[in-house]
Amino acid sequence: MEQLDLIPHLFRTEYRKIVAVLCRRFGFQDMETAEDIASETFLTATQSWGIEGVPANPAGWLYNVAKNKAKNHLHRNAIFQEKILPEIITNASDFEEMDIDLSPQNINDSQLQMMFAVCHPAISTESQIGLSLRILCGFGIQEIADAFQTGKDTINKRLLRAKEKLREEKITIELPAPGDIEDRLEPVLTTIYLLFNEGYYSVSKNETLRKELCLEAMRLCTMLIENKLTNKPQVNALLSLMCFHASRFAARLDGDGELVLYDEQDTNLWNTDLISKGGYFLHCAAGGDRLSRYHLEAGIAYWHTQKADTNEKWESILQYYNRLLQIQYMPIAALNRTYALSKAKGKGVAIKEAVKLGLTDNHFYYLLLGELYSGIDNKAAQQHFEKALSMAKTESEKRAIQKKIEYSRYSPR
């Protein structure tokens, strides 16, 4: 195997660590230099390992090269400053300051601090996710563009603007004060959750990339849990939620990469290991007196990992959706709540509430109505499915709706 596989792998795991440490050392002013040095390090590795073979400790080798490149940069910088500002005299202590600390502890601290800096409310959510993918997850520009279903130029521009903004606002790379943690965690968790959703719900056909996005989100969340300062109940709730969702990763796509609806999934493909992990973190989330949206969503996700179609299951899901919608209205939550209502209290009750939702620009609304009318008024059901079909955005959605139409046409009554 060797370096052909090894270098991309190391790039994925080590690039972000080197960038985080160097960025923190240089500040956002010199962020591009940090990225350049990290990239050059891998270029050097490719050249050198091709001739001399892979060293015994590849990661350590990379750190050493990055360290030397960074020191050279700082040194050059110092000399440059010395020349234009002759009153500054370099002495021994300056060289001490130039040490680049790539110890596991400092790598971890730097990544955590970067997380808070990159998820700063001063920049747009899209940019936060983009920067996180680049800086915290080591994604290539093309991969980020694929994840956002857009071009490399758009992403490059977006990242450039975001970096400028971070400089303008003089955002420092550090952990927030303990008193500010709760507030500053909010956008960090939002970014992590969006990152996860990007992978979980994106229409991209690239399954490997999608899975990778989800795993990265879970990794970042785990880092927050591993740090005492940021190990808060809502962080555990978010990780729990992501574990529960991720447990269905294998079951929700068929051999052709088509989406398999929850009801039709092979439950044997559900990952029990992730389900128990989800349970563990949900348990850890129980402390504190604040019920976050992640707690409620984790509760909903927990019940979705329960295979038995009981009344208790749907009553519980309904109650969580009731609470979730009071914290934050989301059309998809309103639709899912109404579906849970139909499972808990019957289709008649649910139809009455469904018609009040008024989400007439949302094709999932018509899908829900079609579902609710199935078996009650199949003609109405069919009309709603047809409407959903005419509004559906992707081919795979259209195929799934088409199946529903066929089914309702030939089902009894």
Binding site: E315, L318, Q319, Y321, N322, R323, L325, Q326, Y329, A333, A334, R337, T338, L341, E353, K356, L357, G358
Partner: protein
């Protein structure tokens, strides 16, 4: 859209009228289903339940403990909804499950902009 406050009044004090813990759990579910239905229409603005602990101050330095009890029913809580008209707000309020109890009532009032938020 305007905001309307829905006050819920029920008998909080008569011992015999108080629900058992099991009943209470069931009532809370019904209540959450009602509010959840309003929130699913994106018409929920906020709300709070109230403890029976309280004070009433009146003209002439009169201070009494507990909620206002000139009538048997006192305010148990309120929610604020978004609605296009008083009629719509009344329609939302009409499904409030506390109306299943005799003597209970809800009162719907339009919120006027006396304390404008910044």
């Amino acid at each position: 859209m305007d905001e309307y406050i829905i006050f819920m009044r029920l008998d909080l004090l008569t011992k015999d009228a108080q629900p058992s813990p099991e009943q209470m759990q069931d009532y809370m579910k019904q209540y959450q289903d009602w509010v959840g239905g309003i929130a699913a229409q994106n018409k929920f603005s906020g709300g709070k339940g109230l403890s029976v602990e309280g004070k009433v101050l009146k003209y002439g330095d009169v201070v009494t403990d507990g909620p206002f009890v000139e009538i048997k029913e006192s305010i148990a809580g309120f929610i604020i909804v978004k609605a296009a008209s008083l009629e719509e707000a009344t329609e939302l309020a009409s499904a409030c499950p506390i109306l299943n109890g005799p003597g209970n009532s809800v009162e719907i009032r339009k919120i006027s902009a006396l304390h404008q938020q910044q």
